[in-house]
């Protein structure tokens, strides 16, 4: 196959169009960044305080009107609806306390031969991948509170489940008319000035609600504490007058969620390495930012696609004559 000069330019321009699209893929500087809004709300979960009572799980179901979950064994033996015993997040469970244990599990907040709890729920990302991925705005982020919630426009494609770095959304696989569930920070309560069920019900101050910048400050104060230092822990909200004075555990000097995947509004503190508690190690940029940067570079003002199309129409027009049979070059060169 020999390329003549005209062909060569065509190949070149096609290649150039593709290349402009991919050109900026590596320049991380171009990748956009999003920030927590001024009035964004959040939850601070301090695993060192959590006693694993699951009052938060019960309250969550009550506030959101969700039924209890059962293991397959219980369902099979007719034990449904006696108690709630799901072991993970589900379409009925938006908030789940998980147990970490090691060795003889004798001491709380210790990795070796110790135990701890972890509260799993939607992180309410600052730059949520689920919102960016959803083709039909089924997930949206409230411009004021920053709460990420689902709505009826969802088409059930489950791209949000692919996108969420924490594997949070839950889809009703066994329903003809399915919906998607995840923690929505009790937005219907927060709207009216209330606080989420989990924070309201938590007896130990492990889950507190508040303005995201204030809980961030609170988190910073806590990780600065020396082990054993006395500290006044608020119980339900960051400014709660109800407090509990106790000595601080040996915090890991890190706020999980401050930077993870572009940051979150649900922040976590712990004395045990976060990976051991099932929290993924994530880069500081949201994958949504990377994707959108690539996509919007290629499709910027539709200039590249339109330019490509113009070139193609022109080329196709010139070659269109070949369509008529008597012009076909049947013979080999």
């Amino acid at each position: 196959m020999t390329l003549n000069r005209r062909d060569f330019f065509k190949v070149l321009s096609f290649g150039a169009a593709v290349a402009t699209g991919t050109n900026t893929l590596f320049s991380n500087t171009a990748i956009r960044k999003k920030f927590r809004t001024k009035d964004a709300v959040g939850i601070l979960y301090d695993a060192t305080l959590c006693i694993g009572c699951k009052a938060c799980e019960v309250a969550c179901k009550k506030v959101n009107g969700l039924p209890s979950d059962h293991s397959d064994w219980e369902t099979k033996h007719g034990l449904s609806n006696a108690w709630d015993s799901g072991s993970d997040l589900s379409t009925h469970t938006l908030n789940k306390i998980k147990l970490y244990q090691h060795g003889d599990a004798s001491v709380k907040n210790r990795s070796e031969n110790g135990f701890a709890f972890m509260k799993r729920a939607c992180m309410h990302c600052v730059d949520p991948a689920c919102v960016s991925a959803c083709p039909v705005s089924g997930f949206t982020k409230d411009p004021v509170t920053g709460i990420v919630s689902w709505n009826e426009s969802c088409c059930g494609c489950r791209y949000c489940e692919i996108a969420c770095p924490y594997s949070i959304p839950r889809f009703e696989y066994n329903k003809a008319i399915p919906e998607v569930f995840k923690c929505e920070m009790c937005s219907h309560v927060v709207e009216k000035g209330g606080i989420p069920g989990c924070c309201e019900s938590c007896p130990s101050g492990a889950s507190i609600f508040g303005n995201v910048y204030e809980i961030l400050k609170e988190a910073k104060r806590r990780i600065a504490l020396k082990p054993g230092e006395q500290y006044a822990y608020p119980i339900s909200t960051v400014h709660d007058t109800e407090i509990q004075v106790r000595s601080a555990e040996k915090y890991i000097h890190y706020i999980y969620g401050e930077k993870e995947a572009g940051g979150t509004q649900y922040l976590i503190l712990s004395a045990i390495p976060f990976e051991k508690l099932g929290l993924p190690k994530l880069p500081e940029t949201s994958a949504a930012a990377t994707t959108e940067t690539i996509q919007h570079t290629i499709y910027k003002g539709l200039i590249a696609p339109i330019a490509l199309l113009t070139g193609l129409v022109f080329a196709a027009h010139r070659s269109a004559g070949i369509e008529t049979p008597n012009e076909i070059q049947i013979n080999d060169e």
């Binding site: 059930g156 696989y173 003809a176 919007h296």
Partner: protein, 382 residues
């Protein structure tokens, strides 16, 4: 005016056709079940692996197999390679089926299908979502393909053949028909970038769009070669060797370009050493790339590329490699953590087989009843 394409005639209700019809019927019953009882009643999909066989095979691989029309249109019309013309109609036909069924099968996989139109509704369409781009481009491309294929119908059923106005503007449709697959086949790669580090580093890269685009082109050409050789044998027609030889020369170069980007990217990202750790993912990576490297070498050997048998095997290898690349990027390399697992259920597999059966049945009906395949005279002249 003598047309250069002819229906090949023959009986429709042959034995293989009836077997295919039976599979399609069983699949249909399962599809009914899925609509009544939910996706989980038929598939093994779960919250960790929300996309499985249906999305990866029916949509991703299905449309990539359907890239024959794209690849040929690119060559014939854009690069003025008129001599490939006799092959373009069968190529477009395979694309018509591949894309139409891929589009239709999305309805099975999407949980709230009645809301699909929201993707095209400005109020809801989220322009930040790669999926919106894919949806718009695939939907419009299906329409374009039917227009490109329409002359086969007109020549058969309309006195005077294809209406003048369609022929007159065909070049516009062809141009759009090249633009759209370029956009959405690359976007099908971009889709997975948002999975971040849940996709294994051997597959996760910002170059996914380019890799998916090149891979789709190799599969498009691979499909034309495969299908042309296959139909020669099955339908007892002479080989179209001289054209296939040239196509294979193009494919071999595309494969090389793909490998340069694939491995160049791994080296650039410092992930190349990952391939030497033992593991299932690494094994799949080797398999995927061996099936690209082997045909490339075979095609670079002149004597081999002129042998129909090796040509057939290389084409098959390219198609399998592209299939694996898609399965690896979407399933094997994807790990949502928390102990999630996925392997397709039997009913899930049967539904996919049903879709393939419908495609094959349509192929048989179309080549027998419509002027799709080039006439024997035309092949022998070559």
């Amino acid at each position: 005016m003598m047309s250069e394409h002819r229906p090949i005639g023959g009986k429709i209700l042959t034995k293989p056709f009836l077997v295919l019809a039976l599979i399609a019927f069983i699949a249909f019953i399962l599809v009914v079940k899925r609509f009544l009882l939910g996706i989980g009643s038929v598939t093994n999909l779960n919250d960790g692996y929300p996309w499985g066989l249906w999305i990866v095979y029916d949509v991703l691989v299905g449309t990539a197999f359907g890239c024959g029309g794209y690849a040929m249109a690119l060559l014939v019309y854009i690069f003025n390679k008129g001599k490939y013309h006799p092959l373009i109609r069968p190529a477009i036909m395979t694309s018509v089926f591949g894309y139409t069924l891929a589009g239709a099968s999305i309805i099975l996989d999407v949980g709230r299908y009645w809301n699909l139109y929201n993707m095209f509704w400005p109020k809801y369409a989220n322009i930040n979502s790669v999926m919106v781009e894919v949806a718009i481009c695939v939907a419009s491309y299906v329409m374009i393909l039917w227009i490109e294929f329409s002359p086969s119908f007109f020549e058969n059923w309309r006195k005077g053949g294809t209406p003048k106005y369609i022929n007159k503007f065909m070049f516009v449709f062809i141009a759009i028909g090249v633009l759209l697959p370029t956009l959405h086949q690359s976007s099908l790669g971009t889709l997975m970038i948002i999975a971040g580090n849940r996709l294994f580093p051997l597959w996760q890269t910002n170059w996914l769009p380019l890799l998916f685009l090149i891979s789709a082109l190799t599969m498009g050409f691979g499909m034309i070669i495969f299908e042309s050789l296959f139909s020669s044998v099955i339908l007892n027609r002479p080989l179209e060797m001289s054209m296939l030889k040239k196509l294979s020369a193009i494919v071999s170069k595309l494969l090389l370009i793909f490998l340069i980007f694939r491995f160049g990217d791994l080296i650039w990202r410092n992930e190349i050493s990952t391939i030497f750790n033992p593991g299932f993912k690494q094994f799949m990576f080797f398999l995927e790339n061996a099936l690209i490297i082997l045909p490339m070498i075979v095609l670079f050997i002149r004597k081999q590329s002129e042998n129909p048998r090796s040509l057939f095997l290389t084409a098959a290898s390219i198609l399998i490699a592209g299939t694996l690349y898609r399965f690896n990027t979407y399933l094997v390399g994807f790990d949502p953590g928390y102990g999630w697992q996925y392997f397709p259920s039997i009913p899930e597999i049967v539904v996919t087989l049903g879709i393939i059966s419908v495609e094959l049945m349509a192929y048989l009906v179309f080549v027998k009843k419509l002027p799709v395949l080039p006439t024997v005279r035309q092949i022998e002249n070559n």
